[in-house]
Structure formats: structure tokens, C-alpha cells
Amino acid sequence: MSPHPNFMGAPSSTGHFGDFGGRFVPEALMPACLELEAAFIDAWADPVFVDEYRTVLQEFGGRPTPVTYLGRFSKKFGVEVFAKREDLAHTGSHKINNVVGQTLLTRRMGKSRVIAETGAGQHGVATATAAARLGLDCTVYMGELDTQRQALNVFRMELLGSTVVPVTSGSRTLKDAVNEAMREWVACVDDTHYCLGSVMGPHPFPWMVREFQSIIGHEAAQQLTQRGVGVPDMVVACVGGGSNAAGIFAGFANTTTRLVGVEAEGGAAVSHGSPGVLHGMKSMLIQSEHGQIEEAHSISAGLDYPGIGPEHAYLAAAGRAEYVGIGDEDVLVALQTLSELEGIIPALESAHAVAWIMQEAGRSIPRGSTVLLNMSGRGDKDVAQVRDILRGRQ
């Protein structure tokens, strides 16, 4: 038996992780949440479903993704860093793991349509991709500002046969897209599944998305064992909603490995936030003194979220994982450093985790430690933005 409490198991029957989680949705959506919970529990216990989920991720999604030893980076910073390469998964990030699971579940529930929210467009593109493969209708809600900033991703989703709806309310960014997707879900819950993009929202989403992402951590644990590295001293992942972090943490939650989630400084829900209720969940949120939700600010659209998944809020409160913030400047340097030393251009999101390792190597990360870094996505989507920022400075 493990000497540690059993972290990252199922939440309580009402979807709580400690004080966090639960369901805070309009009554109109409660039946859908309950139906989804039942369907997920049933499917996840069904070897046929699990096998299909795994097979699709393998034959379509590109799993297992490799673990790459970052030799030159490790040498330079005096720690042994291994990267779990979600950037090599289909559509360029870990998002595919979740959407493959949810779209298969959608079909299993007899629904023919999915809706999704998206910020930068990664989850939207992933959902459109998985929906195309199964022939599901797909509508993606995206803040109007984001549709302008990420026009190419809008076109990508359209190429994949999806409809993209610009959301004009609020700050016209991700959190408003979530609100709008929830509103729409109320109107079409009969035939439509809401394919949420991270470990957030009402129960069972935080749990279900973590389960669909936990393949990252389980694979990595096995790969490191096979490589003779064993359990790493530390696992580091960036955190927006927290799905890639939850996915990789899940492989190590019940070891003594130090777990570190790296938030964007301008959206650091754990460090700078306080408990609150948003988007169906109780968690840590960035909010004003009056409880109004504030906009997050980050160079990386995927971390531009004022909340965090409730299980992370719990892991922080329970002391099992740490959450730290990294600012935009350090992220830019980290992206350039990793590109030059290792030939891997990380997503701006993932570069937060890289930056934290660069900052802490030899400090809170003792020299020689083994560190597993989740390379949650590839930087191709960010290259134009990074170029414009760097050129703007010359």
C-alpha cells in the first residue's frame, strides 16, 4: 500500500475534489451532466470502449508520443530533463486525447453533434478533427477577439467541416466562449454533447477530461521505467485549465515525485486567485474584490484563463502539487533556448514549464535531478506571434 493518500482517484459522487469541483449549472443542464456522468462511468468500465479509445489514439492520434531526453538543455542547466512529446500528437498538442474520448462517448450516447469552446483555437481544431473523423456535426464558440487573433485556426476548423461562431459578449475571449457554449448547450442538449476542452466545468468534466488525458502520465511512467530512469524527481507541466498537467500528474500522483504546475503570471489562479464559482465548478479564480471574474493576461492564448481545474485547486490545497507563475519575458527566452538547443520549438504554453525549469535549476531543483517536462504542444501556431514580438523590439 502506498504511504500517500490516494491522489487523483475518482472525485466524490457529487464531483468534489476536497472543497472544489461540484456542479454549478442551470437546472436545464443538470440532466445532461448526470447523463454524461453515467455514460462516462459506464464507458470507462467497458473494455470495448477503452480499447477503441486507445486504438484511435494510437492509429489516428499518434500515440504513444515519445519521451525525448533533452541532452544539450540538460547539460546547460545541470538537470536531467526528459520531455513527453505531446507536440507530436495529431493536431499538435495533448488536446487530441480528450476530444477522441469525448467524441467516442458522444457517439455512444447516441448524440450526433458536439459543441466546444476555444481560446486560441487548439481545442477547437482538435474537436473539429475528432468530429470530422466520426462524422459528427460540430460548432465551435470562439471569442470574437480570438477569431481575429487566430484567423487561421478559424479557417482550419472550417476546412474540417465545423462551424465557428464568434462570441461578442464580455471580453470576447475564452471565458466568454465558455459562457456561450454553456448557453447553447441549454438549447440543444438533446442531440448535442458539449465537448469541454480542459479539466474544468461541472462534474463529470474535470474528472472525465483528466481520465482521458491520464494516458500521458501512464505512458510516460512506463517509458521512463523502460529507459531505466525510473520515477523522475519532478514532473513539470504548464497549466491553463490544467488538462495536460492533470494528464501527466496522473501517472505520478501516488509516488513521491514533486509535481509542479506552471501558470501564466497574468492568469495564476492558484497563486493570485481565491476560491470562487465559475463555469460550473468551484475552484480558484482570478476575481475582483467584488467577485467579478477578471480577464487573464498571458502571451499564450492557451493559458489565458482566469480559473484552473478544481482538482488542481485541491492538489494545491492538499499540498500534493505546487503551482507557480512565470511571466511572458521568461517564456520568450525559454522558447528560444529550447529551440536552439534541442530542435524543438515548444508551444508558448509549454514554454512556461521550460522557463520554470531554467529558473529553478540548481535552486529549488537540485543539480542532477531528473525532471519530466510535459511538452504539451508545438510552437508552430505561435511562431508568427513570437516573430512579431521579437521584431518589434529590434
Binding site: T14, E27, A28, M30, D190, V277, G280, H290, G291, E294
Partner: protein, 256 residues
């Protein structure tokens, strides 16, 4: 039984269909005068929207009103201050999202609402399952917690919600958010489902924009709630006098 429910049951016993307009607090400097005008026009109770940054259950009209109110600096405190000491002549029911109360502190929020004359609260994202703590602090302050039911609600949930709601049961007869409903809805089934369990008054809301629709809804229900249609006129510059006649047009139709 909460005072609000005692009052609304008594109202029902008079045979009068309750008319409940919705106002966004702080949307205009004279919003309390609109509330007063609505009571003059025949409102039996008034919903006071407390603006929230992320109104998940609301359509564009109420979103817009909330943004205006927030820009004007509206908070629970400013609303309660403005209400305190005024007597508007009808029960006031706060409507907002759970985070505001959670952040304010549940007990403190309930106390503050009660102290400014508010007797009920509708919190559309507070599910029955998560409501224990809020309901218990409301008990201390005599604030009624009003739950919604929807066409998607299951039999078992209808029973629990109808038994738990206080004041009235808010029957959303269409699957839609405020201001967006189209089509007929399913008033009969939803309202009857509540009645099967409880004799709490049942008010129909979401999507009632004309006196005709109100009359239609009143065939099954004990009251009607008019939200976005009214807020829309205020966003477009209606005066308190306009509000009074707007409400009166509903009152007349219901009383015919």
C-alpha cells in the same frame, strides 16, 4: 415557511396571476425608480438582477445590461445601500450568480440582502446539490431560495426541486437562456410536473415578451416573469413612466 412564500400563496388565493418583472440593478442611475414604477404598474414582486461578469444563463440583453451596470460600479453593497430605507411596495427578489454570494461570504450576503429589504434569491447556477449551505444561511435571514425547473428536468428532480424551492417555483418552459426562447415551450408539462409534488406557487419565465404570451403562460401557472423584454426597453432609454405603462400592459392582459 418564508415570508415571501406566505405572501405569494396569499396572493394566489386571491385568484390574481402574479406578475414579476426583472430589473438589472444599477443599469441606469434611476433604476430604483423603474422598480417603483413597475409596482405602480401592477407588479406583484420584483426581481433585482445583481450584475455578474459571466452571466451563463442570460442572453444578450441581460448581458448588456449587466455590463452597463458593472461599468457604473454596481456591487452588492451599492445595490443594498440604494434599496435600504426605500419602500417599493412589493417583495424584492435578488437574482444573480453564485460566485458573488460566495465571494461576499454567504452569511454576510444573506444578511446584507435581508437588511436592505430583499426577501428571496434566485441563483440559477446554484444546483440543488450544492445549495445546503446557502439555504441554511438564508433560513437565518428569512430569504427564500427559489429554484428553477426546466423541460429537461427529470421526474425525480421535479420532486426534489418542487419540495425544496421557497416562495415559488420558477418554471422555465423552454430550453433556452433568458431573452432567447423561441416557439411555444412546454408550459403544461413543466408546470404540471411541479404541481404533482407540491402546492408551491409556480411561475413561468424565460421567453415571455408580450402580454399575449403572458396570458398564454398564465393558463397553467400562478405567475409570470418578464425579464429581457423589459430590460431591453430600459437599455433603449425608457423612462420610469414607460416602464409603468409597459408593466401595466401585462397587468391588464392578465386581469382580463
Amino acid at each position: 415557511m418564508k415570508s415571501l412564500e406566505v405572501h405569494l400563496r396569499a396572493l394566489r388565493d386571491t385568484g390574481r396571476t402574479a406578475l414579476v418583472p426583472y430589473f438589472m440593478a444599477g443599469v441606469t442611475p434611476d433604476w430604483t425608480q423603474h422598480v417603483a414604477a413597475a409596482v405602480l404598474g401592477g407588479a406583484d414582486a420584483v426581481e433585482i438582477g445583481v450584475p455578474f461578469s459571466d452571466p451563463m444563463m442570460d442572453g444578450v440583453v441581460i448581458q448588456e445590461a449587466a455590463q452597463r451596470a458593472l461599468s457604473a460600479g454596481t456591487t452588492i453593497d451599492t445595490i443594498c445601500s440604494e434599496l435600504t430605507g426605500t419602500s417599493l411596495g412589493a417583495p424584492l427578489i435578488a437574482m444573480t450568480y453564485y460566485n458573488l454570494f460566495h465571494h461576499y461570504g454567504l452569511r454576510r450576503a444573506a444578511g446584507r440582502l435581508a437588511a436592505s429589504g430583499i426577501v428571496g434569491a434566485i441563483v440559477p447556477d446554484l444546483t440543488l446539490e450544492e445549495s445546503d449551505e446557502w439555504r441554511s444561511v438564508c433560513d437565518e435571514s428569512d430569504i427564500a431560495t427559489i429554484f428553477l425547473v426546466a423541460p429537461s428536468t427529470t421526474t425525480e428532480r421535479f420532486e426534489r426541486l418542487a419540495r425544496t424551492t421557497q416562495g415559488f417555483c420558477y418554471a422555465s418552459t423552454r430550453m433556452a437562456v433568458t431573452g432567447r426562447a423561441i416557439g411555444e415551450g412546454d408550459a403544461t408539462r413543466v408546470v404540471e410536473s411541479v404541481r404533482r409534488t407540491s402546492d408551491v406557487p409556480v411561475y413561468v419565465g424565460i421567453g415571455i415578451t408580450t402580454p399575449d404570451q403572458a396570458v398564454q403562460a398564465a393558463q397553467h401557472a400562478d405567475g409570470v416573469i418578464v425579464g429581457s423584454a423589459l430590460v431591453d426597453t430600459i437599455l433603449n432609454g425608457a423612462s420610469p413612466a414607460d416602464t409603468e405603462s409597459f408593466v401595466r400592459s401585462f397587468r391588464r392582459a392578465l386581469d382580463e
